[in-house]
C-alpha cells in the first residue's frame, strides 16, 4: 500500500469513517512509520476544524458549578455526580424505567409479605407444638415422679410384701402387693390376668376384719399381656386389713360386687 493510499485512509479515519479493513491496513503500517504518525495527527487536527465552524453556545451555568464542585471533591465524586445525573435523566426521559422499578418493587414487596405470612404461620404452628410438648413433658415428669415414688416405696425396708394368687377362672394370674403402712397405701402389680371385655373392668376389693362386706376399691383394665399396676391410697393398715381380691364388674365399678368370682385373692 502506497503512502498516498495510506493518507487517504488517514483522512477517512480522522472523520471516524474508515472501515475496519482500512484501519487494520493503516495501523499495521503506522507503528513503524513516523511520516504516517504525522499525517494522522494532521488529519485529526483538520477534522476538528469542522467543529470550529459552529457558533459557540453557552452551556447552562448550573452545569459549570456542578462539574467544578465535583472536581473539588475528587474523582470519585465526579463519577458519582455523573451517575446521579445520568440516573435522574434516564428516569425522566424513560418512564418505563419507573414502571419496571415499580413492578420490581411490588414483586419484591409481595414476595416479602408472603414470606412474612409463611413465617408467622410457621411460628404459630411451632408455638402450638411447643405447648403440646410442654404439656407432654409435664405429664412425663408427673409419671416419672410417680414411678420414682413407687420405686421408693417398693424398695423401702419397711414395706410389706405379699402375694395374691390366681383363682379357678384365672389360675395363671397373680399379683404382688407392696404395702406401705406409714403412708396407708399399697402398690399392686398384676400379672397374667385375662383380658377384660370392653364393657367390663376389674375391680379391687378390700377385705376387712371389722366389716362383714369388703370395701370397694379402684377399677382397672389390663394390657393385652394381662398386666396392670395399681396404686391404692387410704388403706386400713392395722388389724382391720384382712385381705385383697379382684372381680370382674360392669365398666366403671360397682359399690358391691355383683358376683363371687374372684380372679386373684390373698390374705395379708
Amino acid at each position: 500500500m502506497t503512502h498516498d493510499e495510506l493518507e487517504g485512509i488517514a483522512a477517512l479515519d480522522a472523520l471516524g469513517a474508515a472501515t475496519v479493513e482500512e484501519q487494520t491496513a493503516f495501523f499495521s503500517h503506522f507503528e513503524d512509520c513516523e511520516y504516517c504518525h504525522e499525517i494522522a495527527d494532521d488529519y485529526a487536527e483538520a477534522a476538528s476544524y469542522i467543529a470550529l465552524q459552529l457558533q459557540p453556545v453557552a452551556p447552562p451555568s448550573g452545569l459549570r458549578s456542578r462539574i467544578l464542585s465535583a472536581v473539588e471533591h475528587g474523582e470519585d465524586t465526579i463519577d458519582g455526580a455523573i451517575t446521579t445525573l445520568t440516573t435522574q435523566r434516564r428516569m425522566r426521559v424513560r418512564p418505563w424505567w419507573l414502571a419496571t422499578a415499580a413492578t420490581l418493587f411490588l414483586a419484591l414487596w409481595g414476595w416479602r409479605e408472603i414470606g412474612i405470612r409463611v413465617l408467622r404461620e410457621r411460628s404459630i404452628s411451632q408455638n402450638a407444638e411447643i405447648a403440646r410438648l410442654e404439656e407432654e413433658n409435664a405429664m412425663l415428669k408427673s409419671q416419672r415422679d410417680k414411678v420414682a415414688a413407687d420405686l421408693g416405696a417398693i424398695t423401702n425396708a419397711n414395706t410389706r410384701v405379699f402375694s395374691l394368687a390366681g383363682q379357678r377362672v384365672s389360675p395363671a394370674a397373680s399379683a404382688k402387693v407392696f404395702l406401705v403402712a406409714a403412708e396407708h397405701r399399697a402398690i399392686i402389680v398384676f400379672s397374667n390376668l385375662p383380658a377384660n371385655p370392653s364393657d367390663r373392668s376389674y375391680q379391687l376389693w378390700i377385705i376387712r376384719a371389722d366389716k362383714p362386706k369388703p370395701d370397694s376399691g379402684p377399677v382397672f383394665d389390663v394390657t393385652p399381656a394381662g398386666s396392670a399396676t395399681l396404686s391404692v391410697d387410704k388403706l386400713p393398715v392395722g388389724t382391720e386389713l384382712k385381705g385383697l381380691a379382684v372381680t370382674l364388674e360392669p365398666r366403671g365399678g360397682v359399690p358391691q360386687s355383683t358376683n363371687g368370682t374372684f380372679y386373684v385373692l390373698g390374705k395379708v
Binding site: 469513517a17 494532521d42 485529526a44 456542578r66 462539574i67 474523582e75
Partner: protein, 195 residues
Amino acid sequence: MVGAFIIMTATDAASPLLERVARGDSKSFEDLYDRYSPMLYAVLLRILGKPEDAQEVLQETFVKVWTNATLFDKARGSEAAWLISIARSRGIDRLRSRRVRTDRENEAGREITSNGPISPGPSGLESAVQSETRDAVRSALSELPDAQRVALELAYFEGLSQSEIAARLGEPLGTVKTRMQLGMKKLRERLRVMR
C-alpha cells in the same frame, strides 16, 4: 510534524492549560472549562440535538479531561483539537447507542441560540481569536464543493460510515469515499496555508 498547524492558536500555545490540569490544578481546570465549554457544547448540540443529552455528555467529557489530562501531548496536536476529539467521540457514542437521530436537525437548528448565561466565558482576546478562527474555517469549508462538504459533515457530526453516507446521498460508495478524501485533503491544505 508534516505541515504542522495549530488551532486556537495564540491562546492555545501560550497557555497550555491542559498541562496544568494534568498536575491537578483546579483553577486551570476552571479556565479550561470557561474557554472551551461553549465550543464543545455547540459541537455536542450539533451531534446530539437535545440539550439534555449534550449537557450530560459535556459533563462526561470534562470529567474525562480532568482524569486523563496527562495523556495530552502538545507535540501531536492542539489543546482544542484534543478536547474536540474527546467530546465528539463521546457524542457519537451516545448518538449511536441511543439512536436519537430523529428530529435532530430540527432540534439542533442551523443557528443554535444560547440557553444560558455564558459565565465567565472566553476572554475578549480569546473570543476574538476564536471568532477569527471560526470565520477562517467557515471560509475554508465554503470553498469545498457542496458534495464534499456534506459528506464530511455527515461523517463528522452524525458518525455515519462510508456506506451509510452513500445510502443517504444515493451515491456510489467509491464516489463518496473519494469525495471525503478530497475534501479532507483540501481542508488540511487550506488551513495550513491559513496558518
